[in-house]
Subunit: 309 residues, 2 copies
Amino acid sequence: MPKYCRRCRVNKADVYLTYSREYLCLDCFNKFFENRVKKTVEKYRMFKGDVIGVGLSGGKDSAALLYSLRKLYPEKKLVAIHLYHGIGEYSRDSYEQARKLSEMLDVELHVFDYKKKLGIIIPDVEYTRYKNKVCSVCGIIRRWALSRAAKEVGVDVLATGHNLDDLVEVMLNLFITGEFDQLRRLKPVLPPEHPSQVWKVKPLFRSPEMDNFFYAMYNDLPVKRVSCPYYNTARSIRRKRLLDEWEKVERNIKFQLLSTFTKKLMPLIDKKEDLPYKTCQVCGGPSMGEVCSACRRISMIKEALEKKN
Amino acid sequence: MPKYCRRCRVNKADVYLTYSREYLCLDCFNKFFENRVKKTVEKYRMFKGDVIGVGLSGGKDSAALLYSLRKLYPEKKLVAIHLYHGIGEYSRDSYEQARKLSEMLDVELHVFDYKKKLGIIIPDVEYTRYKNKVCSVCGIIRRWALSRAAKEVGVDVLATGHNLDDLVEVMLNLFITGEFDQLRRLKPVLPPEHPSQVWKVKPLFRSPEMDNFFYAMYNDLPVKRVSCPYYNTARSIRRKRLLDEWEKVERNIKFQLLSTFTKKLMPLIDKKEDLPYKTCQVCGGPSMGEVCSACRRISMIKEALEKKN
């Protein structure tokens, strides 16, 4: 016997939400998803201005973000920002999907091309002593580049597609390793910490990964099909699986952990750590030392490239 | 082929420690266990005085604690403190084992008998509206009674047998529910927060539950065999199982969580919460209001008893 949608009670159900144990039809799921984005944006007053930058990687999360924001806020100026890492077929596919979605939604797309802007591409990390930590170096450069691109484009706020599962997993990792100062970066609304930065917001921080996947799929959004060849899954997947197992026994656990991290732990850290940022002498961005960690990585990669040639 | 002890390499192995993947013989396990207790007591400067009270419930953890402390510190005056809850066969068995161990070690045993001291026994909770929360009421009264008994006996420090697994599980629960202020109570060394209190220390806070069990068993310590009829296992067991599963994948996870809680989180809470304790008008102990939560529970039980008779 087919299940009917719990909300409209008219259509047959297409989606099952494990955390709320609800069967929904496509229409009701879309409404439910978009309503959560809207409530998040409004409750946390995420739009501090009229020009909203949206990090668009080509993946399901950022596609769901751009699509839902365009639908919910037709009056806002949205600018999609895509980082072109130069990772062969993976980057070509990612860019292609980002381009398609921007055209489909009539949103301006700003591409930050690593080769043109920085003179390097991510595969060049293989020539350095970080060759077994490409992911980690890429993460440092990515955060830096997105922030820089947002400033170049002149947006007021930069929105990214971080989902509930990723955030809880990263928070748990940082909690376990005791890196409390890194936890601040994950706040749903992060004010500029330096004049070179813009506001950073995460409108999907309460959206489970699966919901973003369904939303992108059911709305036929163009999403990349190629996986990153450098993506190192071991620890991340292990903890994610643990959280998924945990969720089977306590279905609210991810929301509960998110709430503890954001409402209880982060305010404690915030009060304690007022980081005295310096200005990086290379890029002019925030830095703990004379040169920021991204610029140090980039110049190291350039040196390795010169030696090689 | 039998395994040999990893440390002495002479005797056959009797114990396998999952977290360090070591096979040990009984002698080496005893040395290893006692050395960890000694290092904990000394590193955290737990003995703030010459008279040490040891909470002795009759269970494996507190038996392992009293036995190892007696062996390690023959010069210290130890006083065992036993709470007699009046829970039928369970309490009789618990008391009997506590008495045997104290005699065996020639340690003075101080019994705090609820019926004589408070005019109630734990089964009386069943006559109140807390009848489905006996465990929770018992916990509140137990902490209060142990603290009070320690002061009566005149010890300088009260040591309890809290093990690693219990502590990590309780910490995780308090973390998830956001009860950060309750977390302070679990510090390995807790200074008096009120003139009516003594120092509270947990010399086994780095000892896994299984190690305490092995230590008590291999040294033939008298340990209670009867389980408490009120013990409510559901949530606690569920989260403990989760931690055990987690440990199979990351064998250091309990130590890692313990370290994050005690070294990273607790200092943040400590700075924030300087609790302004009042004095309970009934018992003279610390209280958040006019009457402390233990005295409120006790008088409620007495009222219910009067109504019943």
